[in-house]
């Protein structure tokens, strides 16, 4: 009996020691962590060193403890340098009183000079780090990343957080492209395609704040950086990005503005939806041929002129105009990508491979990089204009 008691007591002690002596080895209180919301990577001018700038949310001020609602945006920005990225990041802890945590990072901003030098160190580090999510947005700064990190974005308090919202509404204007860490790293690792990374830049925007400041600088997401493998070789304009968005199904509710030649050349805006692009490829005599077909629907959202045509007539005309506009946009960006840069940033290689496996394996894959600029692409769009939303007829002023 006594033995049994001692034995169970020992077991209890052992379990107690097991749990208590490990001392909560992995415990990190959330208030001791510096939550990185945005990180910028630059090349130090005139040297091989990296400069890392992190934006850390400072919730002590931003959170508003006693139910006061929102207070002024507060974030802490720190910069450190190092021979490697990791060294630079470790050097950050010299100046940060909180342990830096990457799990809540929203965006990795790459400075233009670094992008032109090669982005492999950045992609490598951030895909090695288990704390970082592969869905983190990657953008190239038009200028220094450091500068863009410290500028404000939109209305939100923490600019890293607001960047996510900026990214999520990208499809509305379709002025840029989707680029997250997973996509960038897989494009980089594929021998046939190259990454296309969204660009951000500072613009002047008229804003009215409580302090009466207007004419503030804000961040704009538009355009995209074209890479040949890891080196940035140029940019697509916002206009050219629209074409890419159509092809890659990255936009749905966007806007197509057309001029109506039959009526005073006034502007008509059509809001699109249910947009879908289909890419069909075939290989004829070793030469791939690509046809892109874009379908969708649209509503007339704004009509600057009054007409007295019937609604069916208007719809028909508008559909033709929209089709032409979309085809033009797609052709424009294809032209730039194929002829000007000659790199497959659209991931067409994969589509061709999947649809023409035999030809791909029997030699096309080896010639792909050379063939790509000369692939003939036919673009067709067929939109149907559904209704003019609420107004069946345009505004009509009767005098």
């Amino acid at each position: 009996m006594m033995k049994k008691i001692i034995r169970s007591l020992l077991l209890f002690l052992a379990v107690l020691c097991l749990t208590a002596l490990c001392g909560c080895w992995d415990m990190r209180e959330i208030n001791h962590l510096g939550l990185v919301t945005a990180v910028g990577v630059d090349k130090v001018v005139g040297s091989e060193r990296f400069s890392v700038t992190v934006q850390i949310a400072n919730p002590n001020e931003g959170g508003g403890g006693e139910g006061k609602g929102t207070t002024k945006a507060e974030e802490w920005i720190g910069t450190a340098e190092g021979d490697t990225l990791f060294e630079a990041i470790r050097n950050l802890s010299k100046i940060s009183d909180k342990r830096i945590m990457w799990a809540h990072n929203n965006v990795v901003i790459i400075g233009k000079s670094l992008a032109q030098d090669g982005i492999i160190p950045v992609v490598d580090f951030f895909t090695h780090n288990p704390e970082l999510r592969m869905k983190t947005a990657v953008v190239v700064a038009d200028g220094e990343a450091k500068e863009l990190i410290s500028s404000t974005v939109g209305l939100e308090n923490i600019s890293g957080v607001s960047f996510v919202s900026l990214e999520s509404y990208r499809g509305l204007a379709a002025a840029s492209v989707e680029s997250h860490m997973l996509k960038v790293s897989s494009d980089l690792q594929s021998p046939y395609s190259s990454p296309l990374i969204a660009e951000i830049r500072k613009v002047k925007a008229i804003t009215n704040t409580e302090e009466g400041k207007n004419d503030e600088e804000t961040v704009e997401l538009s355009g995209a950086a074209v890479f040949r493998k890891d080196v940035m070789i140029g940019s697509l304009t916002a206009q050219e990005c629209r074409g890419v968005s159509w092809i890659l199904n990255q936009t749905d509710r966007t806007l197509v503005t057309v001029r109506d030649p039959q009526y005073e050349n006034k502007n008509v805006s059509v809001e699109t939806y249910e947009v879908k692009a289909k890419i069909k490829t075939k290989v004829v005599k070793g030469m791939p041929q690509v046809s892109i077909h874009i379908t969708g629907k649209g509503d007339i959202a704004e009509e600057d002129a009054s007409t007295n045509r019937s609604i069916d007539e208007v719809k028909k005309t508008m559909a033709q105009l929209v089709n032409k506009k979309v085809e033009d946009e797609v052709r424009l960006s294809l032209e730039t990508i194929q002829k000007k840069y000659g790199v497959d940033v659209l991931g067409l290689a994969q589509v061709v491979h999947v649809q023409n496996d035999k030809e791909w394996e029997s030699g096309l894959k080896d010639r792909w990089v050379d063939v790509f600029p000369n692939i003939p692409v036919t673009v067709t769009a067929s939109f149907s204009v559904q209704s003019s939303t609420l107004n069946q007829i345009p505004m009509n002023i009767n005098d």
Binding site: D26, E29, P59, M101, A103, H104
Partner: protein, 506 residues
């Protein structure tokens, strides 16, 4: 005791009685003469608090004294037969029995019977004159329902048996009486429906009750602890209710119930885990709503054991699992808090437990003070002082509220207690610790059984027809069969195709 038999002389009987039950103030002895028996000396003995005095007056003493002297019929007979003669013609009491043993007479008296001793007789009449002073049948406190009957069991076993009988008029309904407790002589009834309930189950219950050799039984919980399958388990192995309707539906399903005198709680055997999350109200509301509520209860259960653990887990280990904005909010809330999240949570959990206990113990008028002091002063002030984060107060409060939505008190207690080991494991190992703890609890539940029934039946082992009354409550016309795990003698409980339909056309 030299001899248990009744002696022939009245005075020696009286002195024997006094030796056995003493001269307590509530033991009354009334001497008189019976004219019809040649003015024989006689006395009645009873306990004044347990009897209805009017019954003694009207049905025993009055007829005996007023019986005319000249009635030769009574006197003619031999003296030994007088007692049975009185039984036949002398007293009016409905329930009566004759005995020659002193012990039987004494135990009758102590239960509220009146014993009639007559000179020169070796037998005694034990006449039922019991009266039960007790609480009237009222609404059950621990299991109140919005719809459904409002009566609850009381302390008196006779009333309780009557409450069941009134609902089930089946002639097979049995109340098998046992007496447990050498000193308390408590009446314990094993009730079941003969011809429906599995005989093995009845036998097992009786056998387990029979092996109880104890001094006294005060409550049904005592009996429960003595006959449970898994005495060390924190989860109740026997269901226990105050509601007669619940007991009756258990009987109709083929279960055995145990009634214990002086307790308003009746045990239902066997019990399975899921029943503790159903309430009789489920059967009185619309079945879709009842099913919804059952899910809500499971959710509440999850919240009550996991809320504080999740708080610790998310703030101390897995910050990446929080949405960014929430992470910042929590970080801001915790900014000034000097304790680690675990300590913070344990302190608040303990305060909640103390408040619950204090609220229970305090007299009602002061109880309000506790709730004000507890909720306002401690909650508000602790946050204002920066000792705990406001989010934790919400978490703890939600967990505490959730724990009350488990209908059964014992089950609710079990899970309230389980919060602490879960919290500790989570604080040590994060999500892994939490999961390990949950798995241990699940294993425990799976290994339990109650009178041969697996505790998680009918989910584990899975029985398709049993699912109609676990996570959802099927409409009545669908529940054609009794729970299979009870192995009742009659499986079917109603005719098939009871679903109401419009009459055929034409």
């Amino acid at each position: 005791m030299s001899s248990d038999f009744i002696s022939k002389t009245l005075s020696s009987n009286e002195s024997t009685l006094k030796k056995i039950i003493g001269e307590s103030f509530d033991i009354q002895c009334r001497h008189f003469k019976i004219p019809a028996l040649n003015n024989s000396e006689a006395f009645v003995v009873y306990v004044s608090g347990l009897v209805d005095g009017r019954i003694i007056d009207e049905t025993i003493i009055k007829p005996l004294i007023l019986y005319p002297e000249g009635q030769s019929e009574l006197t003619l007979h031999r003296k030994e037969n007088r007692v049975s003669l009185l039984m036949e013609k002398g007293v009016f009491t409905a329930a009566a029995k004759e005995t020659t043993r002193m012990g039987e007479a004494v135990s009758g008296v102590l239960e509220g019977d009146t014993a009639l001793f007559i000179d020169e007789c070796t037998a005694v009449l034990v006449l039922n004159t019991r009266k039960y002073e007790g609480r009237a049948v009222s609404e059950p406190v621990t299991e109140s329902e919005i719809k459904g009957p409002r009566d609850g069991f009381v302390e008196n076993i006779q009333t309780n048996a009557a409450l069941i009988r009134r609902r089930i008029k089946d002639p097979g309904l049995r109340f098998d009486k046992m007496t447990i407790g050498a000193r308390t002589q408590t009446t314990v009834c094993v009730s079941y429906i003969d011809g429906l309930t599995n005989d093995k189950l009845i036998g097992e219950v009786k056998q387990r009750l029979g092996r109880i050799k104890t001094d006294g039984v005060i409550s049904s919980e005592e009996i429960q602890e003595l006959i449970e399958d898994t005495p060390y388990s924190i989860f109740p192995g026997i269901h226990n209710t105050e509601r007669p309707d619940k007991v009756c539906s258990a009987l109709l399903e083929g279960r055995v119930v145990v009634l214990v005198d002086n307790t308003p709680f009746v045990s239902i055997i066997p019990a399975v885990y899921w029943e503790f999350f159903t309430s009789s109200g489920d059967y009185y509301s619309h079945f879709i709503y009842s099913s919804f509520i059952r899910w809500i209860r499971q959710l509440a259960l999850f919240i009550s054991i996991s809320a504080s653990s999740f708080y610790v887990m998310l703030t101390s280990y897995h910050q990446e699992m929080l949405p960014t904005v929430l992470a910042m909010k929590i970080s801001a809330d915790r900014a000034g808090v000097p304790f680690p999240a675990f300590l913070e949570a344990v302190i608040m959990e303990l305060i909640i437990e103390i408040m619950k206990e204090a609220g229970l113990r305090l007299p009602k008028p002061i109880g309000q003070t506790v709730s004000i002091v507890g909720s306002l002063v401690i909650g508000q002030a602790a946050v204002a002082a920066g000792l705990v984060s406001p989010l934790l107060i919400i978490v703890i409060a939600v967990a505490a509220i959730s724990s009350f939505s488990i209908p059964n008190f014992r089950m609710s207690n079990a899970f309230q207690l389980l919060r602490f080991p879960v919290l500790a494991a989570t604080a040590c190992f994060g999500l892994l610790g939490y999961l390990a703890c949950v798995i241990v609890v699940l294993l425990r539940l799976m290994s339990m059984r109650s009178y041969g029934t697996p505790y998680l039946a009918p989910v584990i082992p899975f029985d398709k027809s049993g699912q109609k009354d676990v996570f959802v409550r099927a409409p009545w016309w669908k529940m054609d069969w009794r729970p299979r795990f009870l192995k009742a003698k009659e499986g079917r409980r109603q005719a098939p195709n009871l679903r109401p339909k419009p009459p055929p056309k034409g």
